[in-house]
């Protein structure tokens, strides 16, 4: 199993590590028993994600996908960020080994779990976007 150069770059030099104390939205996904936990913090202003930070307990791919996911949603509108898919995260990293695809799903779920908190708090969930949260109900390890 070999990681791509971009995975290694985002693992060795992860972007956006940390916490945002006054985050408008936070998401938590995974559990220690399975070996990965991702925590996502979003700073939201006027419907735009102005900052995103993460903390991850997990393997190289889990850290790299967290880093890439935060990069991909920074500066985006909430609706744009909600369109993030694990496939897009994996592609942006130059691909992931098949056994590591679940890590990209965890990254998508971490973002969506934070967004869900915000959407619920501000009553933004509607029939058009409800299905975009469906992936939160999937077990990431089924994708391994």
């Amino acid at each position: 199993m070999q990681y791509s150069d971009r995975v290694m770059d985002h693992f060795m030099n992860p972007r956006n590590v940390g916490e945002i104390e006054d985050a408008e939205a936070t998401g938590l996904i995974g559990n220690a028993k399975c070996g990965d936990i991702m925590k996502m913090f979003l700073k939201i202003e006027d419907g735009i994600i102005v900052d995103a930070k993460f903390k991850t307990f997990g393997c190289g791919a889990a850290i790299a996908t967290s880093s890439m996911a935060t990069e991909m949603i920074k500066g985006k509108t909430l609706d744009e960020a909600l369109q993030l898919t694990n496939k897009a995260v994996a592609e942006a990293l130059g691909g992931l080994p098949p056994v590591k695809m679940h890590c990209s799903l965890l990254a998508e779920q971490a973002v969506k779990s934070a967004l869900k908190e915000y959407y619920e708090k501000h009553d933004l969930i509607n029939d058009d976007n409800r299905h975009l949260f469906d992936k939160l109900n999937e077990d990431a390890h089924d994708h391994a």
Binding site: M1, Y3, M8, F11, M12, P14, V17, L28, A32, K33, C34, G35, D36, I37, M38, K39, K55, T56, F57, G58, C59, G60, A61, A62, I63, V99, K100, H141, A144
Partner: protein, 396 residues
Amino acid sequence: MHQVKRIYLDHAATTPVRPEVLSAMMPAFTTVFGNPSSLYQSGLQAHQLMENARAKIADCIGADSTEIYFTSCGTESDNWAIKGAAQSHQGKGRHMVTSAIEHHAVLHAFDALAKQGFEITKLPVDADGLLDPEAVRSAIRDDTILVSVMMANNEIGVIQPIEEIAAICRSNQVLFHTDAVQAGGALPIDAHRMGVDLMSFSGHKLYAPKGVGALYIRRGVRIANFFDGGAQERNRRGGTENVPAITGFARAFELAIQEMEENSRQLIELRDALIDGILTRIPHTRLNGHPTRRLPNNVNVSIEFIEGEAILLMLDQLGYECSSGSACTSGALDPSHVLLALGLPHEIAHGSLRVTFGRSNTMDDVNRLIDDLEIVVRRLREMSPLYNENIFSVQN
């Protein structure tokens, strides 16, 4: 990326072939290339090389050369011993006993037999990884046909009380197999005195090439053949013998025995310095496996709040080649069955690091590793949502 000095610290996975071993092998590739079953000169010479190797290995483990059978690897030896014993002795019963921390070559062979209706008892170990011989005695029933307990564990290096277990098996007239793949060349072995019936070995763990192993079968012990074929290996294991690898295996084993005392002393120094360095300099770490009843070259620690594959990957970037019992290193969901058997919670087992020293390592390697590991652990903990500076460890 800039070039870093590579430091190999995974000798339980495999070892490089020693130059002396390679030179011993060379004639068997070129001049003495005959098939050892052939009756003309080059065949007879190859046969002689092989029989010399068999005698040397027998000497190394306190056996008779007629009790040594060459195989392709440790996994084949384990499978042959276990499945062969099952097939031959199922008339007496279909119950077998093993430990929870065996290598997959043993555990999965038993799993395959369980699917065929054999009943397998997997005995637990204590928090240090030791199996209580009395637990073996209690597990033995009238229909028990085989007990298999490894001599030294590949992950945590723990050395089991093999002689006591062998004696219990013998007094109950149950066959006893031990996987000595990690112990071979690292610990003194005297097959006859230990009283084992079957014992597995592998070449590439002791500076011989990959692709050769051996099974010791005590004289008079009956097990079904695993490889059907020609008359090789006294009609018990078909297939043209890998004469070059066998020659190298014997030379490597011989050297390991000659140098064992000196080598063990050096390895134990490195081992204990690394254990001490990690436990004192990196908070929230623990040693896995018994502190002294372990292989001279084995260090296995759990580092809390971070995950093993990430540790390995970052260490690899810094030039260190080690191993982990993390699930992520194998693509599996569960971490190492050995670490879980010690009673470690999943999250602690995920954060394990195994370092196994070898002939090339020095105290300088140990000191550099401790320094770099400290940095790696700090960096990964900074990223971990489970960690904060004032956290109270679940272990301490």
